[in-house]
């Protein structure tokens, strides 16, 4: 592999990063080739020592998307971190997908239930007093308010749990790809 080929493949692998970040990363590797050339090493030898450009690009991309998740907890940053980890092969999709789907399903079901209880609370609070409930109209208002407050707090707890679960997944993925994957990827580095 020549220097130009290595850099082209790296650049292609990095597509999607901000342009300034790509230039920055590519400049690092250009400098590396310059230094090596000054030391009398051949382009092919240097490219080989650097490793597979696609894999390096995936590693750099994963770092960037994990950083985005740690700065901003949103569904889109979670999705991009997850996709990057999967692309790197740091998460085993066959093992994880059913597990993830069932956890996501349970979380989603709980969220729906929480929203339903919240609205039911609203209905009890507003409509309850007109149905002559036991304990008087004021009790119905209080019960309605209580239901809404309980739903809101359970919703907040669910959100925290969801973020925590995803962080655990990210932690596992990072550990996995930093420690285990490089060994397995040695073979396709050539």
């Amino acid at each position: 592999m020549t220097r130009a080929e290595f850099l082209t493949r790296l650049r292609r692998g990095l597509a999607g990063h901000p342009a300034s970040a790509i230039d920055d990363i590519v400049a690092d590797y250009e400098r590396h080739f310059d230094e090596a050339a000054a030391a009398g090493r051949s382009e092919t030898e240097v490219a080989e020592a650097l490793g597979n450009p696609e894999r390096l690009a995936r590693e750099l991309r994963t770092e960037a998307s994990l950083r985005r998740w740690s700065e901003e907890k949103s569904v889109s940053s979670a999705a991009s971190a997850l996709i990057a980890l999967l692309a790197l092969g740091a998460l085993d999709i066959i093992v994880l997908l059913p597990l993830l789907m069932s956890i996501l399903g349970v979380l989603f079901g709980l969220f729906v239930a929480v929203v339903a209880v919240f609205f039911a609370g609203g209905v009890v609070m507003v409509g309850g007093p007109f149905t002559a409930p036991p304990g008087g109209p004021f009790t119905a208002v209080l019960i309605g308010l209580g239901l809404m407050a309980a739903a809101a707090s359970v919703g907040a707890i669910l959100t925290v749990v969801a973020i925590g679960l995803f962080n655990a997944l990210v932690w596992f993925g990072r550990l996995h790809y930093r420690l285990l994957k490089p060994a397995l990827a040695q073979g396709d580095d050539q």
Binding site: R31, L56, L180
Partner: protein, 112 residues
Amino acid sequence: MPEFADIQLRKGVLPLCVLAVLAHGDSYAYEIAGRLAQAVGMGEGTIYPLMRRLQADGLVETYLEESPSGPSRKYYRLTGAGRSAFESQRDEWLAFRRAVDLVIEPTSGGKA
């Protein structure tokens, strides 16, 4: 093909080794990669994602300096946080090494 556990070990200590090199003096990536490729047996390309991570974590910072031959070099130096990270990771490593030494060489280990 190198041993599986061996590679895990090398990968795990790599950030510590980079911090250690920088603790002895500022350096640029090509030089760091050269030193560690020899000593720890890592791929040279791995250094760049690692340096970016250390920089993003605020452990190292960069500055440009003219080199005697050709274009300017990007030097890395430890930040305050980088230095304390190095010291705590080094202590952890030394304690771990002593513990392992004691297990594998019960007669001579532990004294350093």
